[in-house]
Symmetry: C3
Subunit: 258 residues, 3 copies
Amino acid sequence: MKFNNKNISLGLNVTLGNNVKIGDNVTIYDNVTIGDNTIICNNCIIGEPLGDYYFDESYQNPRTFIGENSLIRSHTIIYANNEIGDHFSTGHRVTIRENCVIGSNCRVGTLSDLQGNLKIGEYSWLHSNVHVGQGTEIGNFVFVYPYVIFTNDPHPPSSYIVGSKIGDYTQIAVSSVILPGVEIGSNCLIGASTLVSKKIGNNKLVVGNPGKIIGDVESIISKETGLSHYPWPYNFKRGMPWEDIGYDKWLKKQDYDK
Amino acid sequence: MKFNNKNISLGLNVTLGNNVKIGDNVTIYDNVTIGDNTIICNNCIIGEPLGDYYFDESYQNPRTFIGENSLIRSHTIIYANNEIGDHFSTGHRVTIRENCVIGSNCRVGTLSDLQGNLKIGEYSWLHSNVHVGQGTEIGNFVFVYPYVIFTNDPHPPSSYIVGSKIGDYTQIAVSSVILPGVEIGSNCLIGASTLVSKKIGNNKLVVGNPGKIIGDVESIISKETGLSHYPWPYNFKRGMPWEDIGYDKWLKKQDYDK
Amino acid sequence: MKFNNKNISLGLNVTLGNNVKIGDNVTIYDNVTIGDNTIICNNCIIGEPLGDYYFDESYQNPRTFIGENSLIRSHTIIYANNEIGDHFSTGHRVTIRENCVIGSNCRVGTLSDLQGNLKIGEYSWLHSNVHVGQGTEIGNFVFVYPYVIFTNDPHPPSSYIVGSKIGDYTQIAVSSVILPGVEIGSNCLIGASTLVSKKIGNNKLVVGNPGKIIGDVESIISKETGLSHYPWPYNFKRGMPWEDIGYDKWLKKQDYDK
């Protein structure tokens, strides 16, 4: 069946790269640029206009960029004024509000809700149903698991918004909540259902409600191998840039390239 | 691009006010009334029929009302037999089951799931992904943050359903759970990831799993201003009816109008 | 309005039973079989192809079965290579990834996200927004309430996936998290917002973060009747196979039929 170009709406000034494929019932609004080989599946809305669109006759849709070799799964809504890197992929029914900057090789899972005005580095994977409040900054190689919430209002309701900041390689397990303005270092593991209310240094294991630091991640032994699992890049490579050469060699290459 | 009237299905006895706009791929079932200036965005379903529709040849869709100046964002499903006030707005992919009564100036965020048979007052804002069980009663100026759940079955599974009741001005932070039949007073703040299992009076600050009252909200000092933030209507006005005159004057005017 | 056969896409080798009804804007991909009297509501995608579809020209969609007398509510996505029993029903916007085996008379609520490679027995009901990780095995008559998460990776990220296993009749209340590989016995009640981290025997009541066994379910007294509510099949029959004859008689009949 593949791509039938059935019931597709394209706005003005839509730029599609080579070999872009668009599923049925897709709407792409004005001023969207999509990179080569990217696939937009059925029922997506790309370049969704901002609120003024409905009330301001002179509204101009801001530009939206989605990189090359990306896969946007069905029923996803990506607002205008987003800048998304190459090799991006989404699950189904993802919502990405305006003014996000998302690096290359990121993934955003089914039902995740990015509230806009936020930054995500490279190779960071948000699984299903992650809620990212405005002002959040997520580093590189950060994995966030289902139903995690990044909050931003210390005294709701207020107009004082302060996002959290998450360091490289940190893992945040399911159903955890990151309170407004909290900084979490690199290489941490936040356990399931943890409420993180204070600044956390590097390499920490944090669990509980309220969250407490109970040790360093190096102390966590894999049930599978009987060896220390963290730092995880030594033990997980699928989809990572060190997939072919191993983490150590890749790290050295990175230093060398600098 | 705006409104192209493309692939729209309208049932019988659909009454659209002046200047109503309807996006692409929208289905509106029988006996729906939509007020002036309301906007229904792409891919919405309005007046979704109740279960009997599929099995009873003589099924008649009950009436559905959506007020004036409302904005129903894309992929939202609103069942039949709902009564929704003016200046209503939804995020994307909202689901509102039958028999809800929702006052004016309410907002329901992306992915929220209202299970039907419930009441919401005026100016109450449900953010993304709020789950409201049947029988819940939410007052006026209540703000509910992402992934909050209002439950209703004390001994699951049973047929004894008892909703919770939330007083005016109360704020319920992310990922909290309100147990069946719990009453929460007015002006409370329920902290993030709190499990509320008992009746809570007015002005209380409640945190933890299980939730404990740890003080009055007046004791909470704003990190931004260094002053007490609650009662919040003195410090937050955006979208509120006291936006132009301040909360004190508005309160006096309310008394006067009575 | 009912079924207009408007904007429907059918792939090759789609087999529809007698009296199957298909809503507007539905896409059914290749090699899908749907049983008699089943209803597919608006905007659903059935037989959603696996990832190779987009990159492999010789991709063949695996077969997908949905049983008789099922009701698939609008905006639901069911991947290819699923085997789903009779009398199945979904809420809206459900996502079911590939390689699930789901028995007869199951229900999966609005926004639930089944990640594939999992098993669910008969008469099990997942309410709204349940997240089921790969490798999970859910027994018969298991009810799972909103925002429950079944996890599967003990040391994220890893390639060592170990699902949890849930015994017959067990009830898992809202917002609970089941950690990877955890086995929960039959007839348990897991309270709201519980983090289940260890093996749980039969008939246990578990609450808290971390979850603790605080007694047997038989000790729970119904607020409505003043009597013990569990084992619940003696006190709840709607939709259950003992609805007409009572649980005791049905149990005896089961033994007899063996």
